[in-house]
């Protein structure tokens, strides 16, 4: 299959940088994703929210093939995700991902965490990679922690290193899976601040988060997940002021008190 093949029979204007159509996924007999349709345009910030177990993580992980979907199709920047390893590698090199539990490499310093992929995948020289990494660490506000190991950093600092690490591959798309929900309250803002700055640079962002302040301020669009489906989708103003569905209303009422 040709890696450059564009999404077929979709008008030019509707073609997004991420296109998911009728995506299904089962874990054993458990039907976790039940027909997800979502198109994200380049430069958009889309927030995904919904109850625990509704399939948010599973969906976001199908986009860089950490999970395999079993039905439907996913295109990232025109490349279809299939079993073809070349397509998967091509897609992954355009996507950065930030995890709830950071997943930093504990045997490497902050700087080495950030330079690993540029050196080993992009084949940059060590000097070039370190220079770029320092710039990223300055951007996320922790250049002075460059030579510490993850275990010597606070949760907020670790998550900022993880963001720098993902950015080091110069991705077009960033995926965030509840990046602040493992953090102590006083550290949440320092991470959201970095994400806010990032959203301003025009990178495409897909965030699973329940930080509604962040969503209201930064998101172009929000999608509400319920039992493996997107029940409602729209700009934050509409979702917060005039949600159409009963379940969206109930869920928002719960998390906004």
């Amino acid at each position: 299959m040709n890696a450059e093949r564009p999404a077929p029979d979709v008008p030019e204007a509707e073609r997004g940088i991420i296109v998911a159509r009728d995506v299904h996924k089962w874990f054993g007999s458990l039907h976790v994703l039940r027909g997800i349709d979502l198109t994200v345009q380049a430069g958009e910030v889309v927030v995904i929210f919904g109850a625990s177990g509704s399939g948010k993580s599973t969906f976001i992980r199908t986009i860089n093939r950490l999970e395999e979907h079993q039905q439907g199709e996913i295109f990232v920047d025109g490349i279809e995700l299939t079993n073809d390893i070349r397509n998967i590698a091509a897609v992954r090199s355009e996507i950065g991902m930030v995890f709830q539990s950071f997943n930093l490499f504990p045997h490497l310093t902050a700087l080495q965490n950030v330079t690993l992929a540029p050196v080993r995948v992009r084949r940059w020289s060590r000097d070039r990679a370190e220079q770029a990494a320092m710039e990223l660490l300055i951007r996320v506000g922790i250049p002075e922690q460059a030579h510490k190991y993850p275990a010597q950093l606070s949760g907020g600092q670790q998550q900022r290193v993880a963001i720098a690490r993902a950015l080091a591959m110069q991705p077009k798309i960033m995926l965030f899976d509840e990046p602040t929900s493992a953090l102590d309250p006083e550290m949440i803002n320092e991470v959201l601040e970095v994400m806010r700055e990032l959203a301003g640079t025009g990178i495409t962002m897909l965030c699973v988060t329940h930080e509604m302040g962040f969503a209201r301020a930064v998101a172009n669009r929000m999608a509400f997940f319920d039992h493996g489906q997107i029940v409602e989708e729209g700009p934050p103003a509409q979702i917060f002021e005039a949600p159409e569905h009963e379940r969206t209303k109930r869920f928002l009422a719960q998390i906004l008190h």
């Binding site: 995890f99 997943n103 490499f105 504990p106 045997h107 995948v121 993880a162």
Partner: protein
Amino acid sequence: MSIETMAPPSTAVTPLEWMRRNLFSSIASSLTTGLIGGLLIWLAVNVGGWAIGEARWEVVGNNLRLFLVGQYPATEAWRLWLNLAVLSVMTGLSAAVFGSTTRTLAVSTSALQLLLALLIVPSPLGTLIPPTTSLVLGLLGNAAGVWAAFVAGRLLGPPRRWLMIGWLLTIPLTFVLVSGFGPLPEVRSTLWGGLLLTVLLAAVGIVLSFPLGVLLALGRRSGLPAVRVLSTAYIEIIRGVPLVTILFMADIMLPLLLPGEFRIDRVARAMGGITLFSAAYVAENVRGGLQAIPMGQYEAAHALGLGSLATNLFVVLPQALRSVIPANVGLFISLLKDTTLVTIVGLLELLGIGRAILAQPQSLGAHLEVYVFIAAAFFVLCYAMSQASYRLERTMGLGSR
């Protein structure tokens, strides 16, 4: 006075106070102390008395060459000294460039050689060993070489890469020097023996079985069924068979299976047997380490675009191998001791040569001396290995907690 400015309570204790608290705190503890103390004194007097008074150490002194190198010809012994000197210089250079762990290695190798030299020179034991001068000079020269190289390494600061290449080159160099190649006359492996053979068997076994074991461990977790089944079968079969059996098979079966022109010598067969045996155990240790790596590490690496080879090389294995250092060193210590089993296929390593020496009429009645000497030699080697592993653990554990 505020709390913060108070000095901490003094914890200094006089030796007498320490003894009262730890050794004689109650009647029961006093009794225990007395009993164990008495036993220790009794042992020290008897064993020490035997070692200094009765023992006839000349059986060791007279046969020192045999113990160290077996029947390796005296005219070619300089090659072994040269080899030792190269290793000493490499150790010293590494200590200067790599730091802490290798420094321990340098300190212990030079200390060991000094100690041996000292054991030989002064009385009461030393004068009993006749072939002294060259041995003492060689040992002292080597010990000095380690530190000369250390200083040189500090001054010149050679790049790490060169040293790595240097270490890799020592492997073929050792074989060229020990067995002979080109202008160097061949010394057939049937003549190798004693400590030389023990160390060669163990070193080859360790250096080869480690990478093989890592590959087998990865194979056992591979996504390819054929690789997985083969690795698993290999590991389970080898672990179900005693080393003695494998040594016999390697010695007797291998020549039968191979076509006539291929003659692998006996030492190489034993090395192969030990390597294949040890690899299965390394694999199981490493598998334990691999299982402890959280899925999130693989996911983070894959998300960054690292393929499975790079993920294993740079993310998974460094963590997994670090966590199994103690288990692997334990394994390699056993391997060193298990090399004694090659006597059954007719090789005279340290223990084998000891038994051969005891079979001579001059050594009549010197069993204890010979076995104590052999035990001490093994103890020193094993103890050095376990100390090096503690050091290694401590330096490598830096980022893991």
